[in-house]
């Protein structure tokens, strides 16, 4: 098994209030079969042995589906391999002696907590603003009792593959979250269950996105290229349509009355 020696430049930042800087580290004996996160594990072991503070980075399932791992690697989110999260990126993609730059996601809405960890609560706030459907309580309805066209189900599923990692925000020159928000909207808007609150949802989630301090879309499409789940910019077009329709045609809810509930 061939191993490699690398120089890894890592953003070190003590906490949210402290300034940070890039620090170069030598890491030796990295297996080509290791994932990128395992390489950082090896580096952390070496740092601990030397009595230094290990590097903080986010990770959870290491199976490419949880959305925790982030990392801007050599200027691309998740290292730039198509359809791949950082945990699924393998060291065989690098060469012995490589210099690798590792940075946290950079966005005002994603403040750095420590080293490579950022706070992605802004995504949760967008989700809480409308990323749900209202369903009746009681026993679960029969499966497949509502007919859904195969094409619609496929598009909903493709959008629902979003793991909320934030690579789209990290890749966007404007720090815009439009691909994330559009994926969440498309996921619900392709399905009958998403229709009743559709226009209200598009308004609410876009407003929450704006309030969180994300940038605007300039149609660069870096998000689409960076998405580890290959979510298409078509979702953004759908969001733009729904938002427009909601703006010009939606009758806002009467928030003054008590309703019938």
């Amino acid at each position: 098994m061939s191993t490699m020696n690398l120089t890894v430049h890592v953003w070190r930042q003590k906490d949210a209030r402290s300034p940070g800087k890039m620090v170069p580290y030598k890491v030796s004996g990295v297996s080509e079969h290791a994932s990128f996160l395992e390489m950082l594990d090896v580096l952390n072991e070496q740092l601990i042995d030397k009595g230094e503070e290990p590097i903080a980075f986010d990770h959870d399932c290491r199976e490419g589906i949880c959305g925790m791992c982030s990392l801007m690697i050599d200027g691309r989110p998740h290292g730039g391999q198509a359809g791949t999260t950082t945990c699924q990126l393998h060291m065989r993609k690098f060469k012995n002696g490589d210099e690798i730059y590792v940075e946290p996601w950079r966005a005002a809405a994603f403040p750095v907590l420590r080293d490579l960890c950022v706070d992605r609560t802004a995504f949760e706030k967008v989700q809480q603003a409308g990323g749900f459907v209202t369903a009746n309580v009681g026993s679960a309805p029969d499966a497949n009792s509502v007919p859904i066209a195969k094409e619609a189900a496929d598009r909903a599923f493709e959008a629902a593959a979003c793991i909320g990692c934030g690579a789209c925000v990290a890749a966007c020159p404007n720090g815009s979250a439009m691909l994330y928000v559009a994926a969440k909207l498309t996921h619900l808007h392709m399905l009958p269950q998403g229709q009743p609150e559709r226009l209200h949802r598009a308004q609410a989630m876009v407003n929450a996105m704006d309030a969180a301090g994300f940038g605007n879309c300039s149609n660069h499409y870096e998000c689409e290229a960076a998405c580890p789940k290959d979510i298409s910019r078509d979702t953004i077009a759908l969001m733009n349509r729904d938002f427009t329709k909601g703006t010009f045609a939606h009758r806002p809810r009467d928030t003054k009355g008590d309703g019938a509930g």
Partner: protein, 229 residues
């Protein structure tokens, strides 16, 4: 805040304002280019066209006012968006490698600012006559304002030709992104049409570049001459 002002302040609303005003200016740019291709029809036809536009009266001022409003909204909205986008990424990456965006899309603010300066210069040149006042407000044999000769004298000057060449190049770069980007901003995207429509921006850019540069180039090469020369 009314629903409309919150719409234009929202991220998507602001994009759509850019798209709509940009589209209006693209349409103007196409008509403006077609008008100037009239230079190839000779002094009489070109001056007749200029005379027609100048004697429109009310509609002319409505069009000018509308264009100015569209232009001001486009520029002001762009400046606000750029400021917000910069604020959304307060710390730059040490290493950042764009892969999908184009040089055209990443330089929109820069090309836009240069075009703003150019358009002011262009108005000073041909509308207000302050760049070459010696050629301005001459009349032709029919007693009309001699726009044809002013055009020819302007572009016989290599410096002026070069400045227009640079400006039209930047306009083409700006529209290479902008003239197809508006479709996405307005949500007009469909697998049936989008692969073709994505080429709209580069196509419009190329047509405008060739159309705008053809008459000045013909002047510089001596193919379009002053009457009697």
């Amino acid at each position: 805040m009314s629903w409309f002002s919150s719409y234009v302040r929202s991220s998507i609303g602001a994009k759509q304002v850019m798209a709509a005003t940009g589209l209006a200016m693209v349409l103007f740019a196409i008509v403006h280019m077609l008008g100037h291709l009239g230079m190839f029809s000779g002094q009489d036809a070109y001056n007749a066209y200029a005379h027609f536009l100048q004697t429109l009266g009310g509609p002319k001022w409505i069009a000018r006012g509308g264009l100015l409003a569209v232009f001001v909204v486009h520029v002001a909205s762009a400046m606000r968006l750029v400021a917000r986008n910069r604020a959304a990424r307060p710390v730059a990456y040490a290493v950042y490698k764009p892969v999908r965006s184009t040089l055209m899309s990443r330089t929109m603010a820069m090309t836009g600012l240069v075009l703003l300066a150019f358009i002011i210069y262009h108005l000073l040149h041909f509308t207000l006559g302050m760049v070459q006042p010696e050629f301005f407000h001459k009349l032709d044999q029919a007693g009309r304002y001699d726009a044809y000769s002013m055009f020819v004298r302007g572009f016989q000057n290599v410096g002026i030709f070069a400045s227009y060449l640079v400006a039209i190049l930047l306009l083409s770069l700006h529209l290479g992104h902008g003239a197809s980007s508006w479709l996405q901003s307005l949500g007009l995207r469909h697998p049936k049409y989008s692969p073709k429509l994505d080429k709209l921006g580069p196509a419009i850019s190329l047509i405008l570049f060739l159309g705008y540069m053809a008459p000045p180039t013909a002047v510089l090469l001596g193919l379009i001459k002053l009457p009697g020369a």
